[in-house]
């Protein structure tokens, strides 16, 4: 006969998950409720899935290049350097916005009714820079077309169009998220909002990181 004694139930400490970057990217209190913690977890899970998508594409690129004799290297359009700078700058503007919102939540007198008005220009700037990036990517396509590389011309150009189009679609999704956040933030200040903004920021920074990664791969391989 065995006897098992169970300790009393331990309250689940929140934040449940100290997700990497949660402290750096958001106010710690932004993950103070289970729902907010789930938002943080969700965005990182989402990032994993998107990264896996691109990892599959890049491994396909490496295999396709290695297996073929028809691979023609192409000169990447120069505008991509400009686009990279624009996307990096947009991460900076979003960070400024997020910090100002976090300050609205963190005030000693408790969260204010409305967010600091000076954060909105930075949010709009982020959306604008995102738009400039997307337009810039389109111009890069036109430049590549002008040099005779269409989608089916060569596997290298096929991969260029596929990678940039899929990344661009994800950036557009991020911009939709930013526009949604701009509408939400105008209404009230709360930990939930801060968490949602933090999650949007994680996604947006990941778009920048992913682009630099893709750009490097394309510069080396295509």
């Amino acid at each position: 006969m065995a006897s098992t004694t169970y300790p009393p139930a331990r309250p689940v400490a929140k934040p449940v998950m100290a997700m990497p970057g949660a402290r750096a990217l958001g106010d710690q209190r932004a993950v103070a409720t289970p729902q907010a913690a789930a938002t943080q977890t969700g965005i990182w899970v989402c990032v994993c899935a998107i990264f896996m998508c691109f990892a599959a594409l890049i491994s396909a690129l490496v295999v396709r290049e290695g297996a073929s004799t028809d691979w023609r290297h192409l000169a990447l359009p120069r505008i991509l350097y400009f686009n990279t700078l624009v996307l990096m700058l947009s991460s900076y503007t979003l960070e400024v916005c997020r910090h100002r919102f976090a300050a609205s939540v963190r005030q000693e007198a408790g969260p204010s009714e409305t967010p600091r008005p000076d954060l909105f220009p930075w949010l709009y700037a982020t959306i604008l820079l995102g738009s400039i990036f997307v337009v810039g990517q389109y111009l890069a396509w036109r430049a590549l077309e002008a040099s005779g590389f269409y989608l089916a011309t060569n596997p290298s150009s096929s991969f260029f169009y596929v990678l940039t189009a899929m990344h661009g679609l994800h950036v557009l999704g991020g911009m939709a998220g930013l526009i949604y956040m701009a509408r939400r933030l105008a209404r009230s200040v709360s930990i939930k909002q801060a968490s949602a903004l933090g999650a949007t920021a994680v996604y947006w920074h990941f778009m920048g990181f992913l682009w630099i990664f893709l750009f490097l791969v394309m510069a080396i391989r295509l």
Partner: protein
Amino acid sequence: MSDTSAQPEVHHHGPPQAFIRKYVFSLDHKVIGLQYYGLALVAVFIGMVLSWLFRIHLGWANMAIPGLQLLSPNGAPGGVMTPEYYLSLLTMHGTIMVFFVLTNAPFAGFGNYFLPIQIGAEDMAFPRFNMMSFWTTFVAFLVLMAAFFVHDGPPISGWTAYATLSSVGKAAGPGEALGQDLWIVSIGFFCIGQLLGSLNFIATTLDLRTKGMKLARMPLSTWAWFITACIGLLAFADLLPGAILLLLDRTAGTSFFSPAGLVVGDVVQPHSGGSPLLWQHLFWFFGHPEVYIAIIPAFGIVAHILPAFMRKPMLGGMRVMIGCMTAAAFLSYMVWGHHMFVSGMNPFSAITFSVPTLIITIPFTVATLIFLGSIYGANLRFTSASLFSLGFISVFISGGISGFFLAQPSIDVYVHATYFVVAHFHFVMAVAAIFGIFAGSYFWMPKMVGRMMNETLGKLHFWLTFIGVYCIFMPMHYLGLAGNVRRYAAFTDNYMIPLIPVHKFITIAALLTGAAQLIFLYNLFHTRFWGPIAPENPWEATSLEWSTPSPPPFDNFGGKHPVVYQDPYEYGVEGPQDYVMQTAPGKVTAT
């Protein structure tokens, strides 16, 4: 005894009143779970009828099937199917079963319904994504079904859609025009739906557990769904870009998978240097984990059900079983090449894939031995649910043993693409997962619809199905060893003609076993409307779903948050009853 703390209502959406929001575009995880289950039920009967059709053709190649010409005048003129239409039906059978049944029912169906309840949550973390997940899957199903009604019929390239058959378009044969495009679009939608679902499962499990519900106190079924969600997240994120590349090869003239100089129908195809093997790599990197997406939830369901009927916990405790499932999930990403031993890839890489494939048998063997060791000496309560759980173990072992042979390249070269493989994967993955679904259905239906299923019909259903599947799939091993290749519409070679009587036997068994499923269907519908009302805890089980009414209220626990004090399988303990609910505070003394 159910201790609940009166925490404030935090449900993020109120109960809907309108019919559309309540039953159609519902945000409630329980409704979404039932929707997935219902979709799987429709899909499984379509898939089964397809298998009947091509099984009849395998036994009696020239027999006209009345009415088949109405479905496809070109594919079955006069009711006799052409070889191409045979392949079309085969493709649709595989696709429907793997994606819309084996993924939908045990993972998305039961998982959506019971994961939040088993961890004491009110709903999934992202109910809107959850609703989108189902409706995306539903659209995927409609798009796939549309392939039956386009001019050339469904694709002929199998559920694996191997390039170049799938990548060169209309020239490759009937069904390779619009039918294959629809297949790819359907799978693309399906991937998006499952990614949204996996996202929800992971975030919900990690962050919305109730007070006291440590990870180690989660029931094994929840663990299985969580692990499956982690696999699915990477697997479907791999198939989606693969499907996009395949679609581009077909529609935009790219050459990802189509090689140079490919001549189809005396016409040189306008492609250059693509690699058909690349598709196989991308597909099987998804495809093997997909097999585990089907089987791990079934494992979890059986591991959750058996203790309730054995009246004792599993041997070795929960951690071993969790470890086995986790190890299998991890290894599932290292073995995809074992599907490609004869594909023409570097022969040295065969060993690289063979060794992890043999290693992956270890966690599954350990898990199976735990099942058997736990049952040994247990005072088992024979119900439909426990019978199907035992059946699961039986067919999993039967299918697993042939896996040892197939994992070794030297043997696989001989039996590859024969009925030996068909027997193997139907036992180990398809029938095993289906038995898991049936076990889950008989076990949880009282909770899901609030009425008890008929046990006599359930047991009759079990025995007919159990004997039936062995009659169908066991002889396939002999066919395979005799060199009977799969995917052939008819057997006209001299050496295969003597095997046709075996095919006839299998066909009759398949028809009878399929007919036996009508018992389940009748039982299900009869229960839904006229079954006896189910009590809160009919099986005297311990986990959280049994501490709430049947069916659970909209927010699962009636506005309260359960507090968890116990491990999930406290059976065979001292006291007035031989089990302790997870919500019961205090000390447990095992007998």
